[in-house]
Structure formats: structure tokens, C-alpha cells
Amino acid sequence: MFKILKYSFYDLIRSRWSYVYFLFYLLLGFVLLFLNNDVSKAVITLMNIIIILVPLIGTIFGVMYFYNSKEFTELLLAQPIKRSSIFLGQYLGVAGSLSLSLVLGLGIPFVLYGIFKSDAIFDFSLLLVTGAFLTMIFTALSFNISISNENKIKGFGYAVLLWLFMAVIYDGLFLMSLIVFKEYPLDSFSLVATMFNPIDLSRTLILLKLDISALLGYTGAVFKQFFGTNTGLFVSLGTLLLWTVLPIWRLTRISKKKDF
């Protein structure tokens, strides 16, 4: 698996898109910090970008890489290598290089700006951690989609749809159900609904840092327990991990049964 990871990683590191992605974040980091000169504002803007853009890039990149490396995959399949290793290796290659682009692209400007001396360091590292998680999750989901769909166009469509659903539509439905059922106690429901969408989950994780003042304004005991203590942080991180592991597990399972 590590050999495949190595080759996928090298392959991606040398591809134009990784550079574009990396440079985009680098530029973004510099613009946000050095034009604005305001770490708090930069962190908020970054949050918006991370919870929307990172899943999108992860999804599209994942699907693209999967379909584009079909030949590579077939070449490997005839070699004495375990199937799951091939896909895991490729997955980790993509997710790893994307995460690296993100962490380095944003990390470098922030370090140069002096984030280590700022008290925003925790917010910032949390951002990077959730960003990395989202990359892992959405790349895994996109690999799942592409391994289940021979048709490239279809796979691509599903992947974009998945992103759109998670990023926008889900929250719309969520909001509507909250408003429709507002007569009922909804705090448990709303927390559970958050858990079922990795984007919402990451957002919640960041809210815990950025907007704790507002979150504590709500009366529900479950909310208080969740947001007021470390429960929220641990539960969210745990669920994010689950969100990462489950698609990977399904990927290896499907990869064992698939014909090429």
C-alpha cells in the first residue's frame, strides 16, 4: 500500500493541479493576512472558504483522479498487489497531497505572519484540522462514487450533486424541518442532524471556537451540555473520524468485488 501511496503521491505532487491548489491557498493566505492585517477576520473568511471549497475540491479532485488513473489502476491490478492496497494507496495519495497543499498553502503565510505568537493559533489549527478532515472525507466519498459508476460523466455528476447536497441543500431541509417542527423540543434533533453531514459537523466544530458566545445563548440542556463543555469538541471530532473511516471501509469492500 505504501508503494502505491508513494507513486500516487508523486504523480499528484507533480501534476499542475496540485500546484494550482497549493498556490491558491498560499495566495489566499497572504492576501487575507497582509492586505487586511487582521488575523481574526482572516480566520473567519478562511472558515467560510474551508467548509465550502475544501469539500468541493476534494470531491472533484477525487473523481478526476480516480477516472484518470484507470489505466494505472489496471496496470497495478495485474501485479501481485492486494486490491485494497491499490485503492487505499491511491486514496491516501490524493487525500494526502490535497491536505498537504491546504496545510502548507495556508500554513506558510500564517507562520510568516506570526501565528505562533497570536492567540488565534488554536482557532487556526482547528481550521486546518477540519480542513484536512473534510479533504479526507470528501475524497473518500468521491472515490466511492467513482468506483460504483463506470460512466465518468455520471460519476462526476453524482459527485457534484453530493457536494451541493451537503453544502447547501441539506441545510435548507434542516432549516425547514426546524421551522416546521418548532413547537417540539428540537435541540437533540438539531445536534443529531448536524452529525449526519460532515460539512455541518466541521462548521459546528469551528463555531465552538468562533461563536461560543452566541451558542450559549440557547436554553436547551442538551445544547448546554454539548457546547458548554468539551463534549461538543470530542463528539464532533469522533464523528468526523467515523465519517472518514466509513467511506474508506466501503471503498475497500467494494474494491474487492469489482471487475475491471
Partner: protein
């Protein structure tokens, strides 16, 4: 060497292999023939484990290949379509495959033989179809595995390369290897094959030497014999 029992494979509703039985002994060149869609590639891919059969068993040297992957160390495979990761250079691809297989190899000899030296530092995406096929050949012939599976090895080759390929195949045979070949070029098959395996409707329709085939179909050349075989009522 290879024993296949009652192999079934469907792709959706499309039945490709239906109860295929086949035994291939050690050593010699076996040509797997059959009309388009008869299941040649599916059979080969089943042996390689790239296609997972619905039912049936495949044994390689007496051991089942199901869920295994280490047995592929005994197989060298030349895929039908030579598509490679375009970002890699030829040299890197060869190095990578060597790295993955961790076996002794003789790629230099093959590279000279197919005059690939000028392309070693080129990216695979820039190569022509024929050159890619040469690289493909180098990759599949550079190891010394007892079983060699060649899926349409002649595609895109110029005459000189074709002669080289034939020479190579014969050399490997001399070493006592078992070689499975699919091809549409009957002349090529006639020249090198020891035995013909003819696939039709997902089953083995005929298996035997070229001579046997000719006597059975009462034809004088392979091409006609193959064309006639489907209409011959008797089969093995």
C-alpha cells in the same frame, strides 16, 4: 498449471462465461481464440483476478486463486490496451513496476531490442501507440514468471518489432514457460501456437493442436478453419 472448473460470469444481464472448464498444462503456447465478445478477455482477467467470477473455481498450480494476490507473482501480463499513467516517464514506469514486484529483471536487453532508449526520458502521454505497446512488451517480458499472458500483443507493432516479439515469445517458450495469447492475426497464431483454445458463447468450443483443428474442420489454413469451426457440429 491452470485448471478452471465451471466458471460463470455475467456482466449485468450479459452472460459472458457460462460453465467454462479448461485445463492448461505446463509449458507451451496456447492461443485463446474466439469471435468478438466470446469472453477471451474475461477469461484472462478472471485468471488474473481482475474479474471476480460469479461461480466456479480457478486453480493455479493446484491452489485456488480466490481472494489471493500473491499468486500473481507467477504471472506476467500484457494488457490489450496499453494505457499508462501519463504523468510518468518510461524510465520511471519501468522502475516503478520493478519496485512493486521486487524480482530480478532484464529490462535493458529488451529496451535495446525494441530500440526504446530515446524514449526513456519521455512522458508516457507523449508516446505513439506503437511505442507504448513496445513499452508494454518490455514491462511484461522483463520478469521471469512461469506464466505469461499476452492479450493482443501485436497491436500497433511495426514488422521489425513483430519479428522481435515472435523471437521473444519463442525464447520464453524454450525456457519452459506457459504462454497464453489472444490474437486476431491468424498468421501470427499459426506461426507460434502449440495449441488452440476456441471460445464460443462462454464455453470452450474446441481445444487441441492446429493440426487437429484442421482435420476436424477439413480446412487447409487456420483462418478458414477458425471461420468454419463455429458451424462444425461436433466439439470437444
Amino acid at each position: 498449471m491452470i485448471k478452471i472448473e465451471n466458471l460463470h460470469k455475467k456482466f449485468g444481464k450479459n452472460v459472458v462465461l457460462s460453465g467454462l472448464d479448461l485445463e492448461i498444462k505446463n509449458g507451451g503456447i496456447f492461443a485463446i481464440l474466439g469471435p468478438n465478445g466470446s469472453g477471451k478477455t474475461t477469461l484472462i482477467k478472471s485468471i488474473l483476478g481482475m474479474v471476480v467470477p460469479n461461480s466456479g473455481q480457478i486453480y493455479l498450480n493446484g491452489a485456488t486463486i480466490k481472494n489471493g494476490w500473491k499468486y500473481r507473482k507467477q504471472i506476467d501480463y500484457l494488457p490489450q490496451i496499453a494505457n499508462f499513467p501519463g504523468n510518468l516517464k518510461v524510465k520511471e514506469l519501468i522502475r516503478m513496476i520493478k519496485d512493486l514486484r521486487q524480482m530480478p529483471s532484464n529490462e535493458e536487453e529488451l529496451i535495446t531490442q525494441f530500440k526504446l532508449e530515446p524514449f526513456l526520458d519521455k512522458k508516457l502521454s507523449t508516446l505513439s501507440g506503437g511505442t507504448k505497446q513496445k513499452v508494454n512488451i518490455v514491462l511484461s517480458f522483463m520478469f521471469e514468471s512461469p506464466l505469461l499472458i499476452l492479450d493482443e500483443p501485436t497491436t500497433g507493432l511495426d514488422p521489425a518489432a513483430l519479428i522481435n516479439l515472435k523471437k521473444l515469445i519463442m525464447q520464453e517458450k524454450e525456457k519452459g514457460k506457459t504462454i497464453l495469447i489472444t490474437s486476431h492475426i491468424m498468421q501470427f497464431v499459426a506461426e507460434i501456437a502449440d495449441e488452440i483454445v476456441y471460445l464460443l458463447e462462454g464455453k470452450i468450443y474446441f481445444k487441441g493442436s492446429i493440426e487437429e483443428l484442421m482435420t476436424k474442420t477439413q480446412q487447409t489454413d487456420l483462418e478458414h478453419a477458425i471461420a468454419a469451426i463455429a458451424t462444425t457440429p461436433t466439439h470437444v
